[in-house]
């Protein structure tokens, strides 16, 4: 009784939302936080710690393993296959990020209008973001095949006489994967950029218009600089998504022909899950991947922050 009264008086005195409202028994936070903590300890912190341990062993996914020091890392950095996969991932990022950001920005500007019809177009353009990537990639396996939609259209327009080997050429397989990433990814990034555009104040645009600036000029010099922070955010998200690309190359080409579309995550998969069972070696690759992700996350963070400060 007294405890309750005391609590009420205290909270009445300090109406801040973050003020503790009441004192709880010790088990109350445990009850609320416990389940998540238990699952995170088992399926997040334990595996994370385990990755750091396994990376220095020659363990297999079926068991065993002894401490081998830095042997895995020595093997990784001496492995042509690893550098091959890293180069593909690098190329993936270099191709996918500007395409995702550029097309999404273009689409966002295009549909940021009160024109009739834009309201019908918007949900259609965003819709790929809810389609499962595995099924989208499967669909593009047919769309990009030698007798698929793209080759049919190009031949119908008499642009080509021979089908383009999107999936069977080692030069084009990775590009095809990027096409799928971009087709599926633009919905989400357009959505984010459109939200930013809608928060841009109209006054500057109108002032520039009164000064006689053209639409293109206003868009490039007035509107886009105002959403620089969001563009940086989207570029960071896109780069990290490209760094993690797995489903697209796995479904489209299985990393082939040869290893021409094998990304880092796909390489990790073939070493640690199927057909390989080298848990130790794959864990070492995971740590290298982790470093790459941290690198990109910090670059993206720095860029976004800079954009916001301006």
């Amino acid at each position: 009784m007294t405890a309750t009264a005391g609590t009420v008086r205290r909270s009445a005195g300090r109406p801040s939302r973050r003020t503790p409202l009441r004192r709880h028994r010790w088990w109350v936070p445990v009850l609320f936080i416990g389940p998540v903590l238990a699952i995170q300890l088992t399926f997040l912190f334990l595996p994370l710690g385990n990755t750091f341990v396994l990376a220095f062993t020659n363990a297999s996914t079926v068991g065993g393993g002894v401490f081998t020091g830095l042997a895995n890392f020595a093997t990784i950095f001496a492995s042509a296959a690893f550098w091959d996969a890293t180069a593909h991932t690098g190329l993936y990022i270099v191709l996918a990020t500007p395409l995702l950001v550029g097309i999404s920005l273009g689409l966002a500007i295009l549909i940021n209008t009160k024109m009739r019809g834009a309201g019908i177009v918007r949900p259609i353009l965003f819709s790929p973001l809810v389609m499962p990537m595995a099924v989208v990639a499967l669909m593009f396996q047919y769309v990009l095949s030698s007798d698929g939609l793209v080759n049919q259209i190009l031949s119908g327009l008499h642009v080509i006489s021979e089908p383009i080997p999107f999936l069977t050429s080692s030069q084009l397989a990775l590009v095809s994967s990027v096409i799928v990433t971009v087709w599926k990814g633009c919905g989400l990034y357009t959505l984010i950029l459109l939200a930013a555009l809608q928060n841009v104040s109209r006054e500057l645009d109108e002032a520039a218009e009164l000064d006689g600036a053209s639409w293109l000029r206003r868009t490039v010099s007035v509107t886009i600089p105002q959403i620089r922070g969001t563009i940086g955010l989207v570029a960071g998200l896109a780069a990290i998504a490209a760094l993690r690309a797995f489903t697209e190359p796995y479904v489209l080409t299985g990393g082939g022909p040869g290893t021409s579309s094998t990304t880092i995550v796909l390489y990790l998969f073939t070493k640690g899950v199927s057909p390989g069972t080298q848990a130790g070696y794959a864990s070492a690759i995971s740590l290298v991947l982790f470093v790459f992700v941290l690198l990109f996350a910090s670059i993206s963070w720095a860029v976004t922050r800079k954009g916001r400060l301006r």
Binding site: T4, V8, S11, L21, R22, H24, V28, F32, I33, P35, I39, F43, L44, P47, L48, L54, T61, L107, L110, I111, K114, M115, R116, G117, G119, V121, I124, S127, V130, M131, P132, M133, V135, L138, M139, Q141, S146, L149, Q152, S155, G156, P163, L191, L194, A195, Q198, N199, E209, L233, I240, R244, F246, V251, L268, F269, G272, S286, L287, L289, F290
Partner: protein, 308 residues
Amino acid sequence: MTTATAARTAPPVSSPPAASSPAPKPRRRRRRRGAIGPLERAIRWVLMIIAVAVVLGPLLWQLGTALKGAGEATVGFPGSLVPSDPTLENFVTAFTAVPLGRYLLNSGAIALLGVTFNLLLATLTGYALARIPFRGRALYIGVLLATAALPFEVILISTLLVTRGLGLQDTLLGVVLPQAVSIVSILVMRQAFLAIPDEIEEAATMDGAGAVRTFWSIMLPSVRGSIAVVAVLGFLDSWDQFLWPLVILSDPANYPVNVGVQFLAGAFSADQRVISAAALIVMVPPLLVYFLLQKQVFTGLAEGALKG
């Protein structure tokens, strides 16, 4: 920043940036500003039609293939884009000759269990982080935010070993548990619980309700909107899962649709028409959810993007 505000207003259906319908403003206002001329209008129309064609084209072509009868060739260059004699037999075959029904059931079960876990954990933790003071709370929020940036691929191998070690390989729980905690969902729920006025909780305390009772009878009903957002997002995430089920499941009878259809497409006897029909069926549930519950989808996605 805007999204945080959007989630704070009790039903988060408020102002999802892009969900709004066209709502054509009176034309006169636009004219006065001279923002849109006939040329710009025409250019915008052409570009929009191209964009829509690029999105819908592959889907329609897939539908065309799925509607082609057994007698009509899917191969050949240049071949036909439109079926000459449309038939639904491939959709039937997808359920009879191919275990698509089984895969859909597996996916449904995974989604149901996944969404349940996700909701339970996100509401409990979100509530504690918003309204129950405990030592280390700020630190725990920091840890949650940091782990949100950790890609699952990094711990894939070790998670496989842990899950296998717990005897959960080839089980429903094995698919769901490692992905059950969604940081985005926890943050959405925390925002929602923070928005509830203190007076309501004080009144409950005065009436003698304990922490659990307050949570269940007073707090949960006040955040129904955010619960819907978390449920919708959880369903979409679950339906999109591919890598983890592929890794942890070895018996094809347990495959969810994404892995199952992929498995079928790789089979030697795969008929492109049947696989196309199956792939289209797999896309229906998330698209249905998306078009019916756009506001929840957008609110959740905006929150998720902000986290990244």
